[in-house]
């Protein structure tokens, strides 16, 4: 009661590593919402009490009024904690698109709630339509490279027949080395499926 459970939700976000998502804690969320309904019903009971005694609800400041105030403040506090929890997770998701691309790896996907997945899909779709309208791929590296091609080694089995941007198909088996265009290799490297070979 009184904002403690909601604070635990916020603590979850604070104690985790930066930019790492924990599995969506829908149980705790439901508990906080149940607490809110409890606060609300107690608030209504206190207001009714005051009305029965014939006091003016707006101006009298008696014990019931103060009790109603405490419940109201707890409701506002719970709301703030819940909003912050959802907002921070949405922020992390938005940043993910720039780091990992529009396809989420499985280990992140299982930590999201249903609504967060919808949010991610819609956000990446609107980003894609924006990028196609201005005809510019914003997700590539900001620094212009010295060499448009880089050498990469494949770390994980990606599969065969991946179509690259210059319409050639490549066969990415584990531990094979390739000489690819930088923009193609970027998305695989950021997902950890390839590594760049220097020197």
């Amino acid at each position: 009661m009184y904002g403690r459970k909601a604070c635990q939700l916020v603590k979850e976000l604070a104690t985790g590593e930066k930019e790492q998502l924990t599995p969506f804690n829908s149980d705790q969320l439901d508990q906080v919402i149940a607490e809110c309904s409890q606060h609300y019903s107690e608030l209504q009971a206190l207001i009714r009490n005051m009305q029965e005694k014939g006091l003016d609800v707006q101006t009298t400041k008696n014990e019931d009024h103060f009790g109603a105030l405490v419940h109201h403040l707890s409701l506002v506090r719970n709301k703030r904690c819940l909003m912050s929890y959802l907002y921070k997770r949405a922020e992390i998701l938005r940043n993910l698109i720039w780091k990992v691309g529009t396809m989420l790896p499985q280990e992140i996907q299982e930590k999201l709630s249903h609504f967060e997945e919808e949010y991610f899909k819609k956000h990446s779709a609107s980003l894609k339509s924006y990028m196609s309208r201005i005809d510019l791929d914003l997700a590539v590296d900001m620094v212009p490279p010295k060499d448009p091609y880089i050498q990469v080694r494949v770390l994980d089995d990606i599969g065969e027949g991946i179509v690259l941007s210059d319409d050639k198909t490549a066969n990415f088996t584990c531990h094979s080395m390739h000489f690819l265009k930088r923009t193609d290799a970027e998305q695989f490297i950021s997902r950890g499926l390839m590594e760049e070979l220097t020197g």
């Binding site: 103060f66 912050s84 990992v100 590296d141």
Partner: protein
């Protein structure tokens, strides 16, 4: 309202403060020592700051200075600020102090917080720029949340600088993916 969504602000307001109730309050179970659902005037209760703040403003309760800002801590910080374990006293020492100062009527809280921060910041900055990972972990346990953020920012910028000097691979696996687990077949 830039602080509304800020997690550190929310957690700083959750710190407990001891209040003395001036008026009776009905219908709330926050006082663990009373048998009924009400609070008598004159009873002392420990409340989180967000609640104590509002009650103080409406003069339903009066706030007392929390123990982490008492004379003992001030003397310790005056003697050697860098060694004082602020995290165990209050992990949000500075933010909490700034919020409490106008309410408790403590006029030299501001200058006291500033001097403590200045002294500790010297240590934090020096350690962040020079120490390797293992050596500094002992001193990190005494830092508040704000100081830890500064320390980590300095460390990451040092690491980025070293990487730039050596000229490592530009692309790396996104930090968010963490440790990869081999999928069980």
């Amino acid at each position: 309202m830039a602080n509304y969504y800020d997690i550190d602000d929310i957690l700083a307001e959750e710190e407990l403060v001891s209040v003395v109730f001036q008026k009776a309050v009905n219908g709330v179970g926050i006082d663990p020592s009373s048998e009924t659902d009400s609070v008598e005037p004159g009873s002392k209760v420990e409340l989180p700051f967000w609640l104590a703040h509002e009650l103080h403003l409406r003069q339903i309760a009066t706030m007392k200075l929390p123990p982490c800002f008492n004379q003992k801590t001030r003397l310790e910080l005056g003697a050697d600020a860098a060694c004082v374990d602020l995290r165990s006293r209050c992990p949000y020492f500075y933010e909490f102090g700034c919020k409490i100062a106008p309410l408790v009527g403590d006029r030299d809280m501001g200058s006291f917080l500033l001097s403590a921060f200045k002294n500790r910041y010297q240590e934090v900055l020096a350690k962040a720029h020079t120490a390797a990972f293992a050596a500094a972990s002992k001193s990190l346990t005494v830092l508040t949340k704000e100081e830890t953020n500064l320390y980590e920012a300095a460390q990451s910028s040092m690491a980025a600088f070293k990487k730039w000097r050596i000229g490592g691979p530009r692309f790396q696996k996104a930090a968010v993916l963490g440790r990869k687990r081999k999928p069980t077949e």
